[in-house]
């Protein structure tokens, strides 16, 4: 990533998974590094179990808030089928970080649609640099499902134009203010995400 241009991060998942929080943390971190930052939010109805995406853009000056199609540098996919849905938004050479834990929507449960076979492999087959692991499992083993968020942020931390520690400190500071008892476990989750990416 060139530091004179805009960095584009697309976070995608399902309402209630923490997509917005992950995007907020990334945006705040970029802000702390002196960048101009824009981030889209999705609210209301779209949050209920529907697809949720947040665009985070930062650089010397950000104009349009939406990442143009095919120009995302990083896709943070909180769910494999959602990662497949949005992977075409990546630029050539972009990175897809995917949580492999599936969440089937009611339309699949009701038998109206099928869940795709091997979504991660379909992304890879499209020539995309995909890093996939079960962040849900890591979070559960750490004892709190909500840690998926921090695990995913740890996993993408080395692809950002600032050191991983900066992102980690942002998360830690956030919890120190609001829920100090969760600082340590979030540090562990972040590191587990880093390790999972390294092992991909």
């Amino acid at each position: 990533m060139n530091e004179h241009t805009t960095t584009n991060i697309l976070v995608a998942g399902i309402g209630g998974q923490g997509v917005m929080t992950a995007a907020e943390v990334l945006a705040q971190t970029a802000l702390s590094q002196g960048y101009d930052v824009k981030k889209t939010e999705v609210a209301g109805m779209a949050q209920r179990g529907g697809v949720v995406t947040s665009h985070v853009r930062f650089g010397p000056r950000v104009l349009s808030p939406a990442i143009p199609p095919g120009e995302a540098d990083i896709l943070v996919g909180f769910e494999p089928a959602e990662a497949l849905r949005w992977c075409r938004e990546l630029r050539p050479g972009g990175v897809a970080m995917v949580n492999t834990m599936k969440q089937e929507p009611p339309v699949v449960s009701l038998g109206l649609f099928d869940y795709p076979d091997e979504p991660v492999q379909q992304i890879r087959a499209a020539g995309i640099d995909v890093h996939a692991f079960d962040a849900g499992d890591i979070a559960r083993k750490l004892g709190n499902f909500r840690l998926v968020n921090t695990v995913m942020l740890g996993a993408i931390s080395r692809y950002l134009p600032f050191p991983p520690e900066v992102l980690k400190n942002q998360i830690v500071d956030r919890f120190r203010e609001r829920k100090p008892q969760l600082v340590e476990i979030n540090e562990q989750a972040f590191e587990a995400g880093q390790a999972a990416d390294a092992a991909c």
Partner: protein, 629 residues
């Protein structure tokens, strides 16, 4: 690093456009803010209510919110009301006459257009209201401008004694950006409310005299707009095109084609037509980039200035850079650049898929796990020969799978009048149809109460289902008079719906309160009331799962030994129930039957106890020793 460095001492805050509006209003000394929730405007009041200096309220509809703001302005305070685009339809009756009266304390109406229909029933263009009501329109293009323009809007309102419309769109409301805020300056008109019957009492005789003043005011504002520094040119290097842009399109055109000049209209009505004429003279082709309607285009053309607009650009949805780039290339006769560059190594994509992810299932919003509406739709989907007029709220999802139990949706409150019309207009073929109206508590109080009175007065033969979940679920669970809480969460009036319905003319014996999780009783009451030729109201009494007073119970699970795969529980439509395995069996009569075996997501299940009542073999049971993470 080539990054923007904050000015020394200035604080950089990261805010959405909605938060920035609240901040701007607060700094301007605003003392009264009122709104009815609606995406994408809702958070404006949520943020405003956090400032103790501002009296904030959730009004029961947009018309009332505007009237409250009008009263506050006349009382000598600066006042804000906020709403989504369709809200101004509701409030327009007040606007169209208040424009004759004007404003004392600054009167600002923040209206959020849902360009792209992320969460609305239509995509109308609020800029028309400026023309219709002869009031100015400000259009911010990002959060910083939303903050600055809101602050300025109060001054503008007082300068010309006019309501001011701050026109936002989803891309302004729901995009966070960097804002450098300032401090609050208190404001009040020292003389307070000034009695002035000729100006404030709009009888025909008085109003007649105000109309020429309104036109004269508009003319002065036109002059002002010509000179305002909210309307500025950003010079480009290439003279082949000059853009006119306002709101989010100002950012989109700069991103798509930075080489061309842009005339940015921050004060977009009254249109600074001479500025546009001068700008047009300096470029080969003038292109107006406006989302939704060709309003500026029509007015620019009427002024005799050649301009390209909607023959090039779509009339629906956002004009984002990816829409603009190919259109501009076409205009210049250039080959458009390929939109999505093909991936580096041409991949062997499995199957016949053109692109990765093509043909993937949709993931539309769903009702929440344990939503109290689920039981209602489970019943409605099983009752035959119905016409069901619906309304706007989470329960509109009842039109979809698996229930298919809602037949109309128009605007808030319409379920009432439409039901009466379905009853009175029924033809012979529909003689036995049961007419049912479904409406939520917030929608009922917004615009439904009047409709119910119309039904009782005119002896409607229909059943109203009033789904009282004690919150505005659709927009995120805001409080309302059904919650018994005010905007701050403090105790307040809790409306008594049975009494209200009785007062509106429904016979007491035709009013029933039901628990929507108790299926057998729900069925019984619905069957009974739809069979009676009279107006009945069935009121549900369990809260939305999003409100803080909702109490979950231990989760349920499926006993695999007992599950017969009948799939009946799936008809409830709870997203916590998922199919694990499907099977086709041949019944003794030779017919094939699809079986679906299920499991329950115990982390999501709140133990609402609805689905066990759909399960004949009693396979859905409370989980033993369960802990929720």
């Amino acid at each position: 690093m080539n990054a923007v460095n904050p000015l020394p001492g200035a604080e950089r805050r990261f805010m959405s456009g909605n938060e920035a509006v609240a901040r701007g209003a607060w700094e301007a000394g605003c003392r009264v803010a009122a709104a009815y929730p609606g995406t994408p405007s809702t958070e404006i009041l949520e943020y405003a209510s956090q400032y103790p200096e501002i009296y904030s309220e959730w009004s029961i509809n947009e018309k009332v919110s505007l009237e409250v703001a009008i009263g506050a302005s006349l009382a000598g305070s600066r006042a804000l009301c906020a709403m989504k685009h369709v809200g101004l339809n509701v409030a327009s009756d007040a606007l169209m006459t208040q424009t004759l009266v004007g404003a004392d304390g600054g009167l600002v109406i923040a209206v959020a257009d849902d360009v792209g229909l992320s969460s609305s029933q239509n995509e109308q263009d609020s800029r028309f209201w400026g023309r219709f009501a002869h009031v100015p329109i400000l259009e911010p293009s990002d959060a910083q401008e939303a903050y600055e323009m809101t602050k300025f809007a109060f001054t503008l309102s007082e300068k010309f004694s006019t309501p001011v419309i701050l026109r936002m769109t989803t891309r302004i409301c729901h995009v966070k950006g960097v804002v450098t805020p300032g401090t609050r300056t208190e404001f009040e008109l020292p003389e307070g409310f000034r009695k002035d019957v000729g100006r404030l009492v709009m009888t025909p005789a008085n109003a007649r005299h105000r109309i020429p003043r309104m036109f004269e005011r508009e003319e002065r504002m036109r002059q002002y707009s010509e000179e305002s520094d909210l309307n500025t040119v950003r010079e480009g290097s290439d003279r082949r095109i000059g853009f006119i842009a306002s709101g989010p399109t100002y950012m989109h055109v700069q991103e798509a084609s930075p080489q061309f000049s842009v005339l940015k209209l921050g004060l977009s009505y009254p249109v600074p037509i001479e500025r546009i004429r001068a700008f047009a003279a300096g470029v080969d082709q003038l292109v107006v980039v406006e989302e939704v309607e060709p309003i500026l285009e029509t007015e620019i053309k009427a002024a005799g200035i050649p301009v390209v607009g909607k023959e090039l650009l779509p009339r629906v949805g956002e004009l984002a850079p990816d829409v603009l780039r190919p259109a501009i290339a076409r205009l210049l006769g250039e080959e458009p650049e390929p939109q999505t560059p093909p991936p580096a190594a041409p991949p062997a994509i499995p199957d016949t898929q053109a692109q990765p992810g093509a043909g993937l299932f949709p993931r539309p919003p769903t009702m929440c796990v344990a939503c109290p509406h689920l039981g209602i739709y489970y019943c409605l989907s099983k009752i035959r020969k119905t016409s069901i007029s619906g309304d706007i709220g989470c329960y509109t999802l009842g039109a979809g799978h698996p229930w298919n139990a809602l037949d109309t949706t128009i605007c808030m409150g319409a379920s009432m009048g439409v039901a009466l019309g379905l009853d009175k207009g029924r033809v012979e073929a529909d003689r036995d149809k049961k007419i049912i109206a479904v409406i939520g508590d917030s929608t009922f109080m917004h615009m439904g109460m009047q409709g119910l009175l119309d039904i009782t007065y005119n002896r409607g033969n229909l059943t109203v289902l009033l789904l009282d979940n004690r919150a505005v679920g659709m927009t995120g669970g805001q409080y309302n008079p059904a919650s018994g809480r005010d905007i701050h969460g403090a105790d307040s009036l809790r409306i008594d719906f049975p009494k209200l319905c009785e007062a509106l003319g429904v016979k007491p014996e035709r009013i029933h309160e039901v628990n929507p999780y108790e299926l057998p009783n729900l069925f019984k009451v619905l069957r009974q009331e739809t069979a009676i030729e009279d107006t009945s109201v069935v009121i549900t009494n369990q809260p939305c799962v999003l409100v803080d007073f909702y109490k979950g119970q231990p989760a349920y699970g499926v006993d695999d030994e007992k599950c017969t795969g009948c799939g009946n529980c799936l008809d409830a439509g709870c997203p916590a129930i998922a199919v694990t395995r499907r099977e086709t069996v041949v019944k003794p009569n030779g017919k094939e039957k699809e079986l679906a075996f299920v499991r329950i997501d115990s982390q999501a299940c709140t133990g609402c106890d609805l689905c066990p009542k759909t399960c004949a073999p009693d396979a859905i049971v409370p989980l033993q020793g369960f802990t929720r993470q």
